[in-house]
Amino acid sequence: MSLENFRKETKDWLEANCPQGMRQPIKSEADICWGGRNWTFASEDQKVWLERMAERGWTLPTWPKEYGGGGLSKEEAFVLKEEMKAINARSPLDSFGIWMLGPALLKYGTHEQKLEFLPPIARGEIRWCQGYSEPGAGSDLVSLRTKGVLEGDHYTVNGQKVWTSYADKSDWIFALVRTEADAPKYNGISFLLIDMDQPGVTTKPIKLISGKSPFCETFFDDAKALVKNRVGEAGQGWEIAKYLLSHERAGIVSEAAFGGLNPVTAAHQSGEVDADGKMSDPILRGDVARLTIDGLAFDATMRRVKEEADHGEGVGARASLLKYMGTELNKRRNELNMSALGYDGLLWEGEKESDGEVARSWLRSRANSIEGGTSEINLNIVAKRVLNLPGA
């Protein structure tokens, strides 16, 4: 089918199948559909929208059809995205299964593993979380100590993970576990898929400065992980983790580039504009202009890197550079939102549901340059792998 025909069919299908309630901008976190065994749909529209899109394989447009995807080409997927944007259609499903585990399974999983785990991700039936960091292994992730001992058809897992996003709401966890006690540290880690619905797995939310608790501590006490649910070979976990981190970085970056409120809108909301719409404070206006410039530059850079990747130049370690720049930019945007709002930005709790939203976003943004590799770790990676400078 030609792209033009595909576009027309897609447009018609979306028009007929996307519920009106799913054509509104996302207002709060409840509007994002994460799926999973314990998911409560925010509305009937959200449920219907997920079911219709999943049936077509369009929650994961480019994945193979046999694994629950849509089997679309890159170009077709882009058309779908454009047509969804044209009617303000919300994403039917967001999840770590889609962004992170899926790509890793597609690359490293066996056919059986793909058949077992990918379709439930595509249908939003199983919600996944990521078990990487530990109390003693943050930036120095490879020092992780959660241990897995092989016992027949399974590993017995003991240890603790931290910063596991939404672990308390998730069904399964993909975790890095040291299974090869005697191997060098980079070669002793395996990538295990662990069902969280068992007595050996418990979670505890961590309260953040934003007042929210998106992250948890996750404890393994003689938890069981079947050997058939190990992705890749024993000891191949670090390689898979690195591959997956680049996907995580790309995800954080796209969030940074396209998210939410901007300082000009904020200035209008707080009334800090002149009659002609010019921001009242000239110095703040200048800071915002420099943010606009860097925002344009960042978007253009993302497009350039994508184009270069299509020409076979690869993104590689440059993902670290993008992650660093994108997250620093997002922090700046949030700081300027707060400045433009002035006192109004300080609101935390009040009558309106939206009170405190800007401040929470501002506080949340501080984590952008810590999670998924700190800015400093990413600068190390750029120095060593892009600039080829010597050292550690």
Partner: protein, 374 residues
Amino acid sequence: MSFVLNEDEQMLRDSARAFLAESAPVTALRALRDEKSPTGFSSELWSSFAEMGWSGVLVSEDHGGVDMGYAAAGLVLEEMGRTLASSPFLSTSVLAATAFNLAGTDAQKSKWLPRIAAGETVIAIALDERARHNPDHIETRAKKDGNGFVLSGKKRFVNEGAGADLLIVVARMDDDQIGLFMVDPKANGVSREDRRTVDSHVPADFTFDDVKLDGDAFLSGADDSDAAYRRLLDAGRACQAAESLGVAEQAFDDTIAYISEREQFGVPISSFQGLQHRAAHLLGELELARSLVRRALTTLDTQPSQAPLWCVAAKAKATQVSRLAAAEGIQMHGGVGMTDEYDIGLYYKRAQAAGEFLGDDAFNAGEVARMSGY
């Protein structure tokens, strides 16, 4: 619009890099400086730009050019920035050619564009009147006088002013619209004062004291002369940004080479995290500038109506990043960065001067805010 260079563009960049490394390395700028070159550029080099086919990069094939567009002009300028090549290319092949393309009559185009393409003339743009660039601060007047005009006013820091055969003067007309006027720098009533600048270029100040101009001195081919003037500035900004980008890139490359070779405490200083983080951050800034410059140039070629915002954004970013790259370069070079022997100081000087022309980062950031409606 594409960020990735096509085959023609790659060839152009490669040949520009090779040619300039051979014919206009940094030592050529040092020579111009040390012998106190009266014009600040080499006529021989300028002639060879024509032989390379670059002078007519924005001139149509009908008029003897190669008509490759702004993206191509930007590639040449980027490579010029890398070797600090001093040449009338921006003044003549970009700005003057654009002025004729946008505002020239058929007769004016037929007369001047072939000369530009052939590298037979040096044309300078007389624009600014104050210490900082501001396209609205134009007090030079071109009063209608019979069939012609009388020009009076002052222009400052006209690039290539000392070596120009022809000036294109930005002046306000009787209806307060901006017009572009061709002026012979040797005409009666024109006086020139050469200025040697920190980057070893020789711009000039001009005073026009009731200079009589023929009617056809006015570039009268544009429907809206004021709009043509704005478009000329935008094209100039994107192209000047390309040169600044080249300055930044080479300053960065020189710095990485230096810290990789310099040893202290028994190891190359490039192994220290303090320098690695500065270098990695700088690379990020360079990537941003590179994307904006390319975006501005290709947009000028393919969707000119969308170009102004990209042009001012690119100029702002390239100015900021080139100054940062050279300043960081001096710091990372340490003591030798302060010596005349090392090139990094020359990059610092050129970044400052190139950044000033057509507005620095502060000016262009203001334009970004204005165009974005805040």
